[in-house]
């Protein structure tokens, strides 16, 4: 059972971690919390549902795609949709508050998240009902001797690691990635050495949008049932994970996600009657971190800027 529960926790952590990375990435560059990340990820899940229907339609009439190409195409197009949405959201609800109190983008992105959720509910056909997510990743076991490791679970874990690895390469080895780091470390100094801050912000939102897009796909695949309002829960858990890991630290986000996932799973599994309190356990963990170690697990203890 321990083995199965560890696997459950790792998988749950993976579904949280891409959303959490989104939070951390945006926070690093903008110093503000983009609260609608969870809803953006669920938007991506719905895009996948939409695209699969569309591709199914093309397949019937034109026989155009082989399954793997169709899968990749679907996921990439959904991620691009999500990236476009993210940039739009930046323009509409984050940019107007550039130099104002940082609480305003927090409020406006929460509102944008609700608006997004409600728009899916209203405009997606039967949007308020739960819908099944197409089974794009096979649920067959890879090895009969290894229970729990299906192709899908393996792909989710590998994809998460791969995305993080690409992100690592992008942030540390490319010029624009280094500029993102520079801006998140010191905005004024970065501008002074000639970094185009606007460009950096847009690139961050595109990258973040793509990550959330893949995240939405993985979430949808893992649960196989999605609903318009799931984004609120994932947003909250993702943000909590980012805080536990240290806001602004991308790797911390993964650690935070795993911590929260393990807390939830193990309270459910090993405390009698604990299921009802699993979410509370996660939030208590967050409260403890905020109060006693606000810089998170991996964050740097920053000196208050006066």
């Amino acid at each position: 059972m321990l083995y199965a529960q560890i696997l459950n926790a790792v998988m749950l952590g993976c579904t949280y971690s891409l959303v959490a990375i989104g939070f951390s990435l945006f926070f690093g560059v903008l110093d503000t919390v983009v609260f609608c990340a969870g809803d953006v990820a669920i938007f991506s899940s719905f895009s996948v549902v939409f695209l699969v229907q569309l591709i199914g339609f093309y397949n019937i009439f034109f026989g155009l795609f082989n399954p793997v190409a169709a899968l990749l195409l679907t996921v990439i197009v959904a991620a691009i949709f999500t990236a476009i949405l993210m940039v739009l959201l930046y323009q509409l609800v984050i940019k107007p508050f550039e130099n104002k109190s940082s609480l305003m983008p927090l409020l406006s992105t929460i509102a944008a998240g609700i608006a997004l959720r409600e728009l899916i509910g209203i405009f997606f056909p039967e949007g308020r009902n739960p819908r099944s997510f197409p089974e794009l990743l096979s649920n067959e076991r890879i090895l009969q001797e290894l229970p729990g490791i299906s192709w899908r679970n393996a792909i989710i874990i590998v994809a998460t690691i791969l995305i993080v690895a690409i992100l690592y390469w992008f942030i540390n080895k490319t010029k624009i990635g280094l500029s993102i780091q520079a801006v998140s470390q010191n905005r004024e100094a970065a501008t002074m050495v000639g970094i185009n801050r606007n460009l950096v912000i847009y690139v961050t939102f595109i990258v973040g949008g793509l990550i959330l897009g893949f995240g939405g796909f993985l979430i949808g695949s893992y649960y196989a049932v999605i609903r318009f309002d799931l984004g609120a829960g994932f947003g909250l858990k993702g943000f909590s994970a980012a805080v536990v890991g240290g806001l602004g630290n991308v790797y911390g986000a993964i650690v935070g996600s795993m911590l929260i996932a393990f807390a939830e799973v193990f309270v459910t599994a090993y405390i009698p009657g604990g299921t009802a309190y699993a979410s509370i356990a996660a939030f208590v963990l967050v409260l403890a971190f905020i109060l006693f170690k606000p810089e998170g697990v991996l964050g740097n203890k920053s000196v208050e800027k006066v």
């Binding site: 308020r128 739960p130 099944s132 229970p147 196989a224 049932v225 609903r227 699993a278």
Partner: protein, 398 residues
């Protein structure tokens, strides 16, 4: 000069307002017509919208039929109100309903807390109220009689036959319970637990309560997987139910029986869980199967031809009969709420559900439930299924 402009604007606005209010008052006075209204309340938006919308359509259909038949010398107008599954909203719309003096009767609610919130309001205004879908036993009581009556069974009445079926017919003994923490899930689970324990040898192995909106049941399922279960009872609705069944199959628990309540008897459950995974899931739904109801096929046809796009759901027939009970009583004593109270409480009405009459608490005495099983991607009544005659066997059958 700017100052004066402001005063002018103010003055104009005041005059407009006064005229406006006067005309509104006058308009209000002229509105008096001979209208007979009844109110329908249900969750038309929010998490339980599917239940409320089907019931609303059925209710409206019943009233349309009465109006078109010309049996009553007046036309009945239905005021449709949405409680959003929130007691606060329910209380608000109930206030709206009782403030209209033309409203002579009301029917409402799928959520028991909403009914708890509105019953005092209707009662204090002396308006007869028929519950079409809320299942908490406390709603119908000595204090609320004869104002409040209920056409649907309570949670206990739904779970007694299910427990009997599972323990006696299927002879299952070791159960795990997963339920959501809504009133619906919790009260059903409680009723099930109490009923199940009355059978000798029955053991409740575990009880897990989850929030509505939970998506990951694997930790719970992994925990109970190797506990030698005969079955899993799920107290909740479609979304979580489908997830539980799907993840059970994923964790190689497809040989464990899952039983549920009316909340999962919905084609959406099979669609979202997948027909293969859902195969062999047993659930109970109050009332006879629609094809066995007198006039059931007619109801289905009429419903289709009326052009409603949403399915009528588990509670459609109850709302339909609630509407018919109100109009039958009205035909007897006229559209007078004071007379309707007793007329409804003492009614003996034969309709879709069979013969409905109310006991001294206002609870229907006509209680039938049907056990369903998923076979080939459909909920089929047990007595019609291939499982009954043994040509198919349920998960985990010896």
């Amino acid at each position: 000069m700017k100052k004066r402009k402001f005063f002018v604007v103010c003055a104009i606005l005041t005059v407009l307002l006064i005229f406006g209010s006067v005309s509104l008052y006058a308009g209000g006075a002229q509105e008096e017509e001979d209208a007979v209204k009844i109110a329908f309340i249900g969750p038309l938006t929010g998490p339980n919208a599917a239940q409320g919308v089907g019931a609303r359509n059925s209710f409206l259909m019943a009233i349309d039929e009465v109006n078109n038949s010309g049996k009553l010398p007046y036309t009945i107008e239905v005021i449709v109100l949405d409680d959003e599954s929130k007691p606060g909203t329910a209380a608000s719309v109930a206030q709206m309903a009782v403030s209209d003096p033309d409203i002579v009767a009301a029917s409402g609610h799928w959520n028991s807390p909403c009914a708890e919130a509105t019953i005092p309001i209707f009662k204090s205004e002396g308006i007869p109220f028929i519950v079409w879908g809320a299942i908490s036993p406390t709603l119908t009581s000595k204090e609320n009689y004869p104002y409040v009556t209920r056409v649907c069974p309570t949670q206990a009445q739904e779970n007694i036959p299910l427990a009997k079926f599972a323990m006696e017919e299927l002879d299952r003994q070791r159960w795990a319970i997963i339920s959501d923490t809504s009133t619906y899930g919790k009260s059903n689970t409680e009723a099930w637990e109490n009923n199940a324990k009355e059978y000798s040898g029955v053991e409740i192995v575990s009880l897990d309560e989850i929030q509505v909106g939970t998506t990951d049941f694997r930790p719970i399922l992994s925990k109970i997987k190797n506990r030698d279960l005969d079955g899993v009872y799920f107290g909740g609705v479609v979304m979580e139910g489908a997830l539980v069944r799907r993840q059970m199959v994923e964790l190689d628990m497809e040989d464990t029986l899952m039983v549920g309540i009316s909340g999962i008897v919905d084609d959406k459950f099979i669609e979202t869980a997948g027909a293969d995974a859902a195969e062999g899931v047993v659930a109970v739904k109050p009332g006879k199967d629609i094809s066995r109801m007198s006039g059931g096929t007619e109801f289905v046809e009429n419903y289709k031809s009326a052009g409603y796009s949403e399915p009528f759901g588990a509670y459609g027939p109850y709302a339909y009969d609630a509407a018919k009970i109100i109009t039958t009583a009205m035909a007897k004593v006229g559209p007078d709420k004071n007379k309707l109270i007793d007329a409804i409480a003492n009614i003996e009405y034969s309709g879709l559900l069979g013969t409905t009459s109310f006991n001294e608490f206002g609870q229907t005495e006509n209680v039938v439930s049907t056990i369903y099983v998923v076979q080939d991607g459909k909920f089929v009544p047990w007595y019609e299924s291939d499982y009954e005659d043994g040509s198919l066997s349920l998960p985990g059958a010896d």
